[in-house]
Symmetry: C2
Subunit: 335 residues, 2 copies
Amino acid sequence: MHEPPARRPTSADVARLSGVSRATVSYVLNDDPRQTISAATRRRVHEAAATLGYVPSAAASALRRGRSRLVLLALDPLFSGHISDLIVEGTTERLRREGYVVVRHSHGRPETIVDIAREISAVAVVSLTFLTPAIRRSLQAAGVRRILAAAEVSEGLQGLPDRPWELPVGQLQVDHLASRGYDRLVYALPERSQRLPIAQARLLGVRMECATLGLDQPEVVALPLDRAVIARRLRELSRVPGRTAVCAYEDQIGIGVLGAMADLGWRVREDLAVIGCDDLPVASLVTPSLTTVVGDAAQVGVAAAEAFLQLDDDEVRTGWAADALHYTVVERDST
Amino acid sequence: MHEPPARRPTSADVARLSGVSRATVSYVLNDDPRQTISAATRRRVHEAAATLGYVPSAAASALRRGRSRLVLLALDPLFSGHISDLIVEGTTERLRREGYVVVRHSHGRPETIVDIAREISAVAVVSLTFLTPAIRRSLQAAGVRRILAAAEVSEGLQGLPDRPWELPVGQLQVDHLASRGYDRLVYALPERSQRLPIAQARLLGVRMECATLGLDQPEVVALPLDRAVIARRLRELSRVPGRTAVCAYEDQIGIGVLGAMADLGWRVREDLAVIGCDDLPVASLVTPSLTTVVGDAAQVGVAAAEAFLQLDDDEVRTGWAADALHYTVVERDST
DNA sequence: CTGAAAGCGCTTACAG
DNA sequence: CTGAAAGCGCTTACAG
């Protein structure tokens, strides 16, 4: 049993104990391919390192190398926990195999990305959030060498950025409903949610597909996660009943609509059909079960990693997300 | 508009442009209270830094200071997304006010905590995962100065670590059900879940409370998130119907039980009552709505932060979590 | 109030 | 194959 040293051991300690120079220690421990070191020496170094419990200082090696191995994965706080976990896992696993270490961050204001990136000396940022040019510049000033962002928005831009990768959600919802004979649509946005921009992008997809198919544009309603309030709003709708369906921008609201319908005594499908998005685990468990649209989140994570690996130093890439997502409809009892 | 410099500016560049020494730049930028610097000088330094887009190198300052400002928050992957987000937010917000930067990590094997802590040069680790003595020692060898862990488990320990903070969940479930007249209990564990240890700690709470109240011990069943399978398992139960209730270890399984009951044509409460845990947003939206137990997750996050702030350098604290959690029952239609 | 200088721990040309 | 030495960018006694 070795007593923990008062001071953290350095490569000099390892060199001393193994009887070689610090350079050799570094060569051995980093497996430098340009050096040929005898097996005996390697073993001595490894043994000394193990004996001392030597752990290289990441700060020192980042300082000397001029870069770290850290990739900051900045997630839109709009991504829900379930989906976001799948994305993080996909990216982390893929990049780990290339020797990177991935750290997640998903706090409120995008400016905090800069603080974190700087503090951890991130060599790269993969963002599933929008970056403004100002934030991108700050990141580069903070030494981030590669940046991959879902999209970049000009500060001056009026209105909503389009999130083109969300459009297929709305399109698939409409296609599915139309094929089941529902041609009068209600679109359920969230009430007071940070995720409103996502919901509106999906709504845009719905609008586009209604136009394509020659359907009337949807009636739009904002719903909280409160079944009493949802019931009240449903009663005020002008389009119910009759071949009518609610497109919920995500499953929880869809489940809320189903709950409110139960309270109102409305029949599912006959009075109102419902489709959600995300395929939360509970979507299949509720009664009636919820038809929904699901994207391959883990695939998004991997796609982010792949796009990142293509990047050269000091390269910024934007708008990769559009091609990465593939959605499908999961048909259940609510449609 | 300034062209981005080919090279990242350093404090020497700022010193040159503002006509002072690098020491003065450091004093000004770090607001060193032991120095008195004229307002004019301060302004010149700040202006030069802004002009150059100077961002201090975190690697260099960590190397020189011997420590970073980074706290690694290691979360048990067992924490679900929703709960874990609340915890992270609580901790991050509290520690940010003290000048720390909090980064989350929640990958599978606890050993990866060491890799991340080392790579980001974390000054501290706050863990909601169990730490083994070996991992704790590795963290300290990697330069982590403060460690706060929910609990520490010896490698040699047989059986499950008790997670004492989970016990009240089971106790509250039983208390609530008993007070409603349900005295025959079924405990629903997850089938094939990483979260099984949590479920078993909650089950232990149920067992203890049953003993305290003089109830029969629960019948235990493992359920997947698949309503057909759940229905099959429910039919095989020996204790249904009659003043019987299912304690689900968490809400999703509870919702699955309700779904399976609908498929079986069983009446809620009369044939079987259900209580969950976590109070997921959908728990109130499903039909029938799900009674559940909820802990104050944000408070856990804050409690972790507070406990951390009490720590001295090179101090390790374990077992703080037990007192931090407060649970309550949210009563709905399923009981 | 300011500046010259040391040193944090590492990596890597370069000279043997 | 190995080692002496420079230097990454910062902070901080210390001497003015």
